[in-house]
Symmetry: C2
Subunit: 320 residues, 2 copies
């Protein structure tokens, strides 16, 4: 793009729960409405001249795919988790790219928005492969759980007394296969949606070929890897809360406006951030900042994003 | 890409039936195996230096999604056809990009392969919108068909005495929204998978915004549009037969090695090509050749593709 000034790159990770909210079933109108809300702050970044990579979670969506898969299994062949993740990358990418494109039209910004189907490499020997810890999909009775363990080799965990859910491994992301193409598109002024659900998990064989593997990758850790590979100046995680908090949901809860990477690591070690929610986000933030000491992390809600990026709200984490 | 010679662009449209074959249910191993077979000829084109856009059908795959959708509708919200099409673009794109990448490794070709989620614009006033003619998804009893007509406004058609199937419109493709990005990737030596299932159908509102619409786009007509927009030199349609035939499946069947665009139009007018199968392919071919008089169309099977492109087999259609 001749005459184009050097721009800065931002990676914005949208929570899957920002698109199907708690207590929603995820009708198409709910998903489109929530997607549009989540994108308000992203439009602000684009107007300010940032090159933007949008990543997203897919927890509730892949959960719905697993339910359909199971309910239709007598008529439609089961698909492995990676292919279901491909489903959600396609459908959610479509919703996000169309919603963002439409919003940009109202701001007279003529930029293409494209979704790139993404594979993320993990290690088949990752310790987590032997110890599945991530609950996915529907709740089953103990009897059905036993049947599925026998018939399909699924592993189960009891989830907070509500029933049994399939437990899958969540190995560490090592490589984003399509990062080169994503970078090329970003430098050409194209807005990219990618790494949905953390990417479709694959392993790299000794001969270099790729093969799918049954697990789920944490989307914040995969987004952090992308932010490092792209040398992004800004890494935003959009989630259900306006700010990161210490003593979360306790009487002495303290919201954090700003912290250093060292403080973030200390609070993490002190157990302030839960494994299933803020924990991976703080890990994603500190891994990114360790590699990008001039970078900035913002964690906030869809509603808070615009102001937070401008420095008024959310939680900002920086190296210094 | 400095120093890169001018290459030629080929559009290769794979049939959805080439990936789930007739009488197969479409297990994941069947789909991967068929995908790999379908790609043998594509590898030949890439080795010969062509820039390749791969498009694909999704008939059996979106049919399976409709069955799951229906069987799970008490627990998982219904998704519209366009979002299900997004599902199949993601999952099938993943299968194709991974399978092709792996094949290229064995030929020591280091080219990225990416899937771009694609939207195709149609006219909401297209005549076909009022007259749904394309059967999709599962078979229903007359009683269930009546219930779904009442509850969901679906329209039905009886399909060859086997039961009732949902009938959806199949409007004419007018514009591939992402064609600019696809072209940019191709000229940079990247292999692109796009326009799956003909693209996710959308209409363009007077203000320029896009909105999904419930229908299915013929993937060969959409691929033909892409071939014209890309000024491709070669347009290949991979299907279930080695050659186009006159008097198909009759005692006097004649396979065609080569025909001119005028001959193709004449045979089409004479009713040699069926509406649900070869008809749209011949229409796609002649529309492309009318716009690209130096172009070449090849119609053949996955097995025949490599030889056909080299001039030994399949049916070749040219302007002259």
């Amino acid at each position: 793009m001749s005459g184009k000034n050097k721009t800065r790159t931002a990676v914005v990770a949208l929570g899957g729960n920002a698109i199907i909210k708690e207590k929603e079933t995820g009708t198409i109108s709910q998903q489109f409405r929530n997607t549009r809300k989540s994108l308000v702050g992203v439009v602000g970044l684009i107007r300010d001249g940032w090159d933007v990579l949008i990543t997203h979670g897919n927890g509730p969506q892949v959960g719905n795919r697993l339910i359909s898969n199971e309910m239709a299994h007598r008529m439609v062949p089961d698909m492995p988790l990676g292919v279901l993740c491909g489903d959600t990358e396609g459908a959610m990418g479509y919703m996000i790219q169309q919603s963002l494109f439409n919003k940009l039209i109202f701001h007279s910004i003529k930029k293409p928005v494209v979704t790139v189907i993404t594979q993320t490499v993990v290690d088949a020997e990752d310790l987590s492969m032997r110890r599945p810890t991530k609950p996915v999909g529907p709740f089953f009775s103990e009897k059905d759980a036993q049947r599925l363990t026998r018939d399909k080799g699924w592993r189960f965990m009891e989830d907070a007394g509500r029933g049994f859910r399939q437990a899958v491994p969540s190995p560490y992301p090592l490589e984003i296969v399509e990062i080169g193409v994503i970078e090329r598109l970003l430098t050409q002024g194209i807005i990219v949606v990618a790494i949905g659900g953390g990417g479709i998990p694959v392993v790299r064989q000794p001969d270099g070929t790729l093969e799918g593997i049954d697990c789920i990758i944490d989307k914040d850790l995969a987004s952090s890897l992308a932010a490092r590979m792209l040398t992004a100046e800004l890494f935003v995680m959009v989630t259900g809360v306006d700010k990161v908090a210490l003593n979360y949901r306790k009487p002495d809860q303290v919201d954090i406006d700003r912290m250093s990477v060292d403080e973030a690591k200390r609070y993490q070690a002190e157990g302030h951030f839960f494994a299933g929610s803020m924990g991976p986000k703080i890990k994603a933030a500190t891994e990114y900042l360790d590699a990008a000491p001039k970078g900035r992390v913002v964690i906030t809600s869809p509603e808070g994003l615009k102001d937070a990026v401008a420095g008024h709200g959310g939680t900002v984490i920086e190296a210094g």
